[in-house]
Amino acid sequence: MLQTQVLVIGGGATGTAVARDLALRGVQCILVEKGDLNSGASGGNHGLLHSGGRYVSNDQEAARECKLEGDIVKELMPQCVENTGGLFVAVQGDDEKFIADYPSYCAQCGVPCQMIAPEEARALEPTLSISVIAAYKVEDASIDPFKLTLLNINQAISLGSRLLRRTKVIGFDVQNKKIRRVLVRNDYTGDEFYIEVEQVVNCAGAWANQISSLAGIEIPIQYSKGTLLVTNDRINYRIINRLRRPSDADILVPGGTVSIIGTTSTPVEDPDIIYPTVEETDLIVRESSVMVPVLERSRFVRAYCGVRPLFGKGGGSDGRNVSRGFALLDHSQENVENLTTITGGKLTTFRLMAEKTVDLVARKMGVTAPCLTRTEPLPTTTGGQWTEPGISPKTWMRSHESDDIMICECEMVTKKAIDEVIESIKKNNEKTSLVDICMRTRLGRGACQGAFCGMRAAAYLYERGEFSEREGLVDIGRFFQERWKGIHSILWGDQLIQAELMESIHCGLFDEELYTPSR
């Protein structure tokens, strides 16, 4: 039976940061994740490192936290950050009072902000609408949440922790107000087994309540779905926020080689059943093009969504008025002494959330080692760097072995990157799938959304002997489906042509639909 000091549940930004924090304090852990890393809200957001400017009017506490944490992340994890800077802009018709009050809101929270003329804003960001009437410069940055998570967990693993992916917690064995063993199931193999634990940290985000309820504890969580669109190429250099109270489609974040526009906020019942809808897509394009008109005719390559866990009940219909602050729950009061839940919050403050959580867990365990994530830089490890857009072509063009072919042309992902990813997955004794590679590199994330590179990657995995018999055929079907989730709501114009090409190859020529098990 597996044993661990701490079992961390949930492989998002918080869970992996908790694992790293623990490891740096000398505490080993096992992290279980029912899907793959970042399959929840950590993978379904803008990738925006808030300066705090977004929250100065409605959540000053969050604004201050963002400012402080943002600075720490920029300093200690620069490899995950592109320090783009940001703008808040208002267009004709926006609330003039809010525009005028904005600097004083910022000043109250200690968030730096500098007013600039609309013309200057347009000079900085040529795609801005001519109807911009006010603009402020802030210290926003963009962050790569995938790289962040990978590097956090990689350091934890290098310090002796373990990651179990596709491993779902299905039961707690509670004795004497303590969880003694946790029953888990591997979703691929169907194997069920126990892990003996001292402490359990519930970092399941939107699924926190599902986990805690296994121990008979109810956590009040609202689910709010946010949808975002990815453009085919990078439209802006800085982060562009709409200068108004938080609303739909008012942030445009450049992420490496693309821009991401979002988000929406729709309450949902079940965090497992979410997908971007056509209505949301249309709403985002309509709303955002007021600020950046070119979006009206831009090519989008993907839509995706995440579900925000909002702690607490009540608030407005869209959940925007529920605190985006985080909730750290010690379940000792509810008769489960060694269970701690961390939920809510936002990507920018993920490290702080982990620090507070581990402080609490460490107290429970009697560990006195101080938190090091506040001072120690995050190291870069192999297999962890390939999520960064453009890194693969840059590395490849610097020099490459003669057999290092490019598997994915759009995002220029190389064989070497895929090899490294497979090796890093194998280190954890796991089997590789195309979806795993997609998450850890940029494979399939470009214009073709997998139509060409999926086939080439499958061929390569066969070459490596990763697949036997028809496994690859099934796996490519899963991979396409994973990609399809993010494209079927944005299929018009060029992207519809691309999708037609994809279907004409894989159905029209290869008959793959006849080989996929029906749902």
Partner: protein
């Protein structure tokens, strides 16, 4: 009376000094012809080989059928200057005026003792036709010089660059001519010159006769006398004429035939007396002669030198076979040609790529400019990097059409100069952009671009084209559906030349680099610089993406960025994977 040239020790010494300088200068320049590295691989061709090659060329030409070309070249090209008449009539007139005017003055007047007297024993400088001709030849030179100055002013600009040395040459020429007329004019009006002549040659007896001659010279020859006592009556003049015919006319025709100096002397009348007191004629004479000496001494160092080099060049190039270029022999020839260039600008006017200069303003494109830069290039002077860059751009924009060589009035083999220049530039690290661009790979170029740019954010503004901006406009390349047709039809990708020379990225990858905003990485890629521009990719693209036009634009932008980058500097290559 002024001593003649040979009698004045001072002038005599001056003459020898001038001759010495001139001879030394000519020798110096000829030595330099053999010492200048006017072509590639100069280090392996020492001067003695060049001398030997020149000698061999000379001998083989003289003893070949080509020798007969000598007469053709001498007559048509050197004397009649037919090469000029082909391209520019006014220039031809200018040149013929100066050339013939000056040469005839030289032979008939300056070297009268040696030439004219030998041919015409009755020669005397104040007799016609010599006096008339002297004025005429002088006028020819002055007209020529005037046309030259007018042309310089009128066609000012880079096509007709004027060197400082050229100006001094023109000034000396003008001084010689003007002082010459002034000597003559001041002699005409001079009473003391008249008196000296009377003393030496007159057969007049008694003051009456003298008065008659004075009256005659005053009214007809223009001499200005301080005091003519008796009124000048026609009788007196007639008597004077008679006496003049007896004793003066054998040496002095009427001064009116000096049709320039005479009017000048009329103009000088009011100041004739004071001038005579200070012996203005002697002063002008000294100025005239010394200016001639100055011109002589200055000859090897000025434009005048072309009097020697041009005929030589025409003869050498007119007689040798242009297709057989032997570097050892070509080097001194090129050096000589550099001296022969008169900067007339004809080559630039006919240059096939001169319109490029109109557009981008780099003067080094123009042949007339290039030829003067070659001199500095070969002289071993250190040339600044940005200057070298401009020079090499000029050199490589040349399409080798031979038009300049065809029109050069001096018959300089300009095209050969350009070939040699290109080779020389390549030796100095400035080959064709398509070649030097491969000193680094695309990634290293991108590092170098970034090293030169302060901002970390992607910068599109500096790579904007003026009329089209295909590489920055996502509407242009975003429609790519990754079908690889462009790559599959590309003959360059298909050409299998081994890994070292193989293209680094495919056309499709270029589209993706643009989409990924990694334009800088595309700029220095082999695919961009090895594109044959066959347009297969563009013609076959199902999405209508102008792939070749994009590659062209990338080349433009790359060149714009790269040419300002110091290729010898070390930079820290940024580790992307950090």
């Amino acid at each position: 009376m002024v001593k003649t040239l040979l009698e004045s020790t001072f002038l005599f010494v001056c003459l020898y000094i001038a001759l010495g300088i001139c001879a030394f200068g000519i020798l110096f320049r000829i030595v330099r012809w053999f010492a200048s590295d006017t072509g590639p691989r100069a280090a392996v061709i020492p001067a003695w080989k060049r001398v030997a090659a020149a000698a061999k060329g000379f001998i083989t030409t003289v003893f070949s059928i080509r020798f007969f070309l000598f007469f053709k070249v001498l007559f048509l090209d050197v004397l009649l200057q037919t090469r000029i008449v082909k391209t520019d009539l006014s220039r031809w007139i200018m040149h013929i005026c100066i050339f013939f005017g000056f040469m005839l003055l030289l032979l008939m007047h300056a070297l009268d003792e040696l030439v004219t007297k030998k041919l015409f024993p009755e020669y005397f400088s104040t007799l016609d036709p010599f006096q008339l001709l002297r004025n005429l030849f002088g006028l020819m030179v002055i007209i020529g010089v005037a046309i030259a100055i007018y042309r310089r002013v009128r066609h000012r600009g880079p096509m007709l660059a004027t060197r400082y040395a050229d100006r001094y040459a023109v000034i000396i020429l003008a001084v010689i001519m003007i002082s010459g007329y002034l000597v003559e004019a001041s002699k005409i009006v001079s009473e003391s010159v008249f008196n000296r002549m009377m003393k030496d040659f007159s057969s007049a007896s008694g003051p009456a006769d003298e008065d008659a001659i004075r009256a005659f010279w005053s009214s007809e020859y223009g001499t200005v006398f301080a005091d003519i006592k008796t009124p000048i009556t026609p009788d007196l003049v007639a008597k004077g004429k008679q006496l003049n015919d007896e004793s003066c006319a054998s040496c002095h025709v009427p001064t009116k035939s000096a049709f320039i100096s005479y009017p000048v002397s009329r103009a000088l009348r009011p100041v004739a007396m004071p001038m005579d007191r200070i012996k203005a004629d002697v002063i002008f004479y000294y100025i005239h002669v010394l200016a001639c000496f100055a011109g002589l001494a200055y000859l090897p160092f000025s434009k005048f030198f072309h009097i020697i080099t041009d005929p030589l060049t025409m003869i050498v190039n007119g007689m040798s076979d242009k297709k057989k270029v032997n570097q050892a022999g070509a080097m001194p020839r090129r050096a000589m040609e550099l001296d022969a260039c008169t900067n007339c600008g004809t080559c630039s006017r006919y240059c096939s790529v001169a319109p490029v200069f109109q557009m981008i303003g780099n003067e080094e494109i123009l042949p007339s400019r290039k030829i003067s830069m070659i001199s500095s290039l070969c002289s071993g002077k250190t040339i600044k990097a940005d200057e070298l860059r401009e020079i090499s751009e000029g050199a490589f924009i040349c399409t080798s059409c031979f038009k300049c060589t065809e029109v050069c009035p001096t018959g300089i083999n300009l095209q050969d100069q350009w070939f040699a220049q290109k080779d020389l530039l390549a030796e100095k690290g400035y080959p064709l952009p398509h070649v030097w661009v491969k000193e680094f790979n695309a990634s290293e170029w991108s590092d170098r671009i970034r090293a030169g740019e302060s901002s970390r954010t992607r910068d599109v503004d500096t790579i904007k084209g003026r009329y089209y901006n295909l590489t920055a406009d996502s509407d242009v390349f975003a429609p790519c559906i990754q079908c690889q047709t462009c790559t599959n039809v590309c003959p360059v990708v298909a050409a299998h030349t081994g890994r070292k020379d193989a293209v680094d990225i495919t056309p499709q990858k270029i589209m993706n680099l643009l989409r990924l905003g990694l334009n800088d990485l595309a700029l220095g890629s082999r695919m961009v610089w090895d594109c044959t521009t066959c347009y297969q990719c563009q013609e076959n693209c199902p999405q209508g993406i102008p792939v070749t036009d994009i590659i062209y634009e990338l080349k433009n932008k790359a060149y714009g960025k790269f040419k300002n980058i110091d290729r010898t500097a070390d930079i820290d290559s940024k580790d992307d994977a950090s």
